[in-house]
């Protein structure tokens, strides 16, 4: 009897001890799909304050008259902005690296290239006699005005539209290029212009005039803001937006990178491009205008257009004429 008891106890102990704790439950998890937003993209864009009543009664094309003759390279008049730049040994230019054909980083060489870059080089060449004495700082549409105002850069050459509101914050050179806002869509989308984009998402760079024009358009499209223009092409290719709308000059650069897209509709704005310079540095504005006069007349402008912008139109236009307020 005792043996049976002992045996039974042992068995019971063994059974109890053998109880294993285990849960075979499978995890219940959730994930989101969809393409990620480019860094800094805002969908929809915050409504841009359309600077009510901001001095609209100006001529945005009218700049400061250049001196009769430019000082020789490395012989900048002392005491001014130009002398300071010469002493520094390099011109600091704010440029874009995301506008194909205007200011972009050539993936093959790693160098910044484009129409805007070459215009900036002309200024460096006039100051130093060497177009490579230049340091680029990439700025976005949203940051370029601040960069000029706080002296971070000497000038900004970045497909920048001159308008009366911006004239209150910075000075501009004379007009060096004329663009107009159009629309980029997928080939065969059936969309022929801004009117076909009612309620659809349309991309443009934050801080550009284009994003305001989209928001203000009668067709009421939904503006989507990004940091750089190529981000718009990414979003179009990923189906995150229906269209990109900005200056035809920039759109041509985007269309050139994707044969499945096309620029449609007529230009519904006029965008005169100027080089932005700090308001205090009038001497630099006049000097740059002198450089631009030479660029217009000595064939440089035509050469640069043929190098970079033949995609816009095969017959080379004449450079836009300069206008001065004084």
């Amino acid at each position: 009897m005792n043996k049976r008891l002992v045996l039974g106890t042992l068995l019971l102990t063994a059974v109890l001890a053998g109880c294993a704790t285990g849960d075979g439950g499978l995890p219940d998890v959730r994930v989101g799909a969809g393409a990620p937003l480019p860094v800094g993209a805002q969908d929809p864009a915050p409504s841009a304050s359309a600077a009510p009543g901001a001095a609209q009664n100006c001529d945005p094309r009218a700049s400061l008259r250049p001196p009769a003759s430019l000082p020789a390279a490395n012989g900048m008049p002392s005491g001014g902005t130009l002398a300071a730049i010469q002493a520094r040994g390099k011109l600091i230019a704010g440029v874009d690296q995301n506008s194909y054909r205007f200011g972009f980083r050539d993936p093959l060489t790693g160098e910044l290239s484009g129409f805007d870059i070459d215009i900036a080089k002309q200024v460096a060449k006039a100051i130093f006699g060497d177009e490579n004495k230049i340091q680029y700082k990439t700025v976005t549409s949203a940051t370029r005005i601040d960069a000029v105002r706080n002296g971070e850069v000497d000038l900004v050459v970045e497909t920048m539209t001159m308008n009366c509101e911006r004239w209150q914050q910075v000075s501009f050179s004379s007009e060096y290029f004329t663009a107009g806002q159009r629309v980029l869509v997928h080939r065969g989308s059936g969309i022929t212009g801004m009117d076909g984009l009612a309620g659809k998402k349309v991309c443009a760079a934050a801080g550009s005039t284009s994003i305001r024009n989209i928001a203000a358009h009668a067709a009421r499209p939904v503006p989507v803001a990004v940091a750089g223009w190529t981000d718009c092409l990414v979003m179009l290719q990923q189906g995150q937006v229906e269209a990109v709308s900005t200056d035809d000059s920039i759109l041509a650069g985007l269309a050139a990178q994707d044969p499945n897209t096309e620029v449609v509709g007529d230009a519904f704005t006029v965008e005169p491009y100027g080089i932005a310079i700090r308001k205090e540095n009038a001497d630099l504005v006049r000097f740059v205008n002198g450089v631009l006069e030479n660029v217009r007349t000595d064939g440089t402008w035509t050469r640069l257009y043929r190098t970079w912008l033949t995609a816009l139109s095969t017959d080379t236009p004449t450079p836009p004429p300069a206008k001065y307020q004084d």
């Binding site: 042992l10 109890l16 990620p36 690296q97």
Partner: protein, 451 residues
């Protein structure tokens, strides 16, 4: 004089009136009720002995079950610590490192312009492969929060690699939109993948802490029950001695001895396991945590270094983040000083290399900034991909070696802790069986005397 088994049958141990009372209470002419019979039998000594035995056996069984299951649970926690939680934590660190390194490498490859250097391409591919390996290991071992983060990683990593490959093929065609895809991929890494990898690490670390506290828990319930058994045994033995005029009962003595042994062993093994676990935490996992954090921060800083140049003048935020991170690592009383203060001996030689490489990397970075600030962009890129890259690599691999060394210390201590409990469930089971056998045999012998 010690007499344990000399039967004394001369005197009846129970007073006579008590024995007759039961009979008297049973109503004449009617079968006694069950309750009546039970009460009656308890009035008899054999019945009372049977009750004592039942109570003692039940108590001993309870204590034994508590001891055995407790030991098994703690042993399971300790096994998990060494075989599962440790490797899972290491895998989660490997994952984080591989992901950030892939991102830093992709940014560097982009910087170089034109065809990316083969070495960078290989490194990127090795990082993605390593991420896949770590994800597989982690998927087999994590649940709850960890599984949710893993699901994010498993569903978004292919999106990331897809963006990188798109960027790469566009770059090869000379189209600047490739850079935009790279930026989008980098944003995805920073906004979704790295936070999820951090979540995976946190989950693995929490599991490790749970196992450690589970494995080091003091077996209070079992000890209390054992003490209860000892107390009950003492009481029963004294009553038995009073009843039978015999001081000792061999069976009950054996049971008492077994109970005392079980109590002592429970206490000693718990303390031994706790000491090993503490040593493992202080010399191993705490130090690994500190170094892992520095490694992760440094990887972020390396990505910042490349992105500052990719942004080309627009990367002030990246440079600020780099400066803050490196300051946190290298300043007096910073993360590296903290790590050195807790050096375990096995990581000393690696830490010396880490210090040297951190200083050299910082110097190379200053060179990069000076060149870039002075307009020598090409030179800045060259130094970033050359000197700064190799100093960073030295820093990262030395830190990795130190982490491996201290992880081994942790694994060894966890193993020691497990050793303190090895075969503990069998031992506790055997002692319980001895207790019960002793009680049953000891009491049955006495009961037999009343037949």
């Amino acid at each position: 004089m010690v007499t344990t088994e000399s039967p004394v049958r001369t005197a009846s141990p129970v007073p006579a009136p008590e024995r007759s009372a039961a009979v008297v209470h049973a109503p004449a002419g009617r079968a006694p009720t069950v309750r009546g019979r039970l009460t009656a039998s308890l009035r008899h000594t054999p019945g009372r002995l049977a009750l004592w035995m039942t109570v003692l056996v039940a108590l001993a069984l309870l204590a034994g079950v508590a001891a055995v299951t407790g030991v098994r649970q703690r042993a399971a926690h300790l096994d998990a610590l060494a075989d599962r939680n440790g490797p899972l934590t290491v895998a989660s660190l490997d994952l984080y490192r591989a992901l950030s390194d892939a991102d830093a490498t992709a940014a560097s490859a982009f910087l170089s312009g034109g065809l990316e250097p083969a070495a960078l391409r290989d490194r990127y591919q090795a990082d993605i492969a390593e991420s896949g390996r770590a994800l597989t290991v982690l998927g087999a071992g994590l649940d709850g929060d960890g599984a949710q983060h893993l699901a994010v990683l498993n569903s978004r990593l292919p999106v990331y690699t897809g963006l990188i490959e798109t960027a790469r093929s566009l770059n090869r065609q000379g189209l600047p939109v490739g850079a935009a895809y790279l930026r989008e991929a980098n944003g995805l890494m920073r906004a979704e993948l790295l936070p999820a990898a951090q979540g995976v690490y946190d989950a693995a670390a929490a599991d490790l802490r749970d196992s450690r506290s589970g494995g080091g828990a003091a077996p209070w319930l079992a000890v209390l029950l054992c003490l209860g058994v000892i107390a009950a045994l003492v009481v029963v033995q004294r009553r038995l001695a009073a009843l039978t005029n015999r001081v000792f009962n061999a069976g009950l003595l054996v049971a008492t001895g077994a109970a005392v042994l079980l109590t002592l062993w429970l206490g000693v093994s718990a303390v031994a396991a706790g000491v090993s676990l503490n040593a493992g935490r202080e010399q191993g996992s705490d130090q690994v945590d500190r170094m892992a954090q520095v490694r992760i921060d440094a990887l972020q800083a390396r990505t910042d270094e490349a992105l500052t140049l990719v942004a080309r003048g627009g990367g002030a935020a990246f440079e600020t983040h780099y400066a803050e991170t490196l300051d946190g690592i290298t300043r007096d009383g910073g993360a590296l000083d903290e790590i050195r203060a807790h050096a375990t001996g096995v990581d000393d030689p690696h830490l010396a290399v880490v210090d040297r490489a951190a200083d050299a990397w910082l110097a190379a970075h200053r060179d990069v900034r000076t060149r870039d600030g002075g307009g020598d962009y090409t030179g800045a890129v060259e130094v970033t991909l050359g000197g700064a890259a190799s100093e960073f690599a030295a820093f990262d691999s030395a830190l990795g070696a130190a982490i491996t060394a201290d992880s081994d210390v942790f694994a060894a201590r966890a193993d020691d802790a497990g050793g303190a409990l090895r075969f503990g469930d069998l031992g506790a089971g055997a002692l319980t069986a001895a207790m019960i056998a002793g009680i049953v045999i000891g009491v049955q012998r006495r009961r037999a005397e009343y037949r």
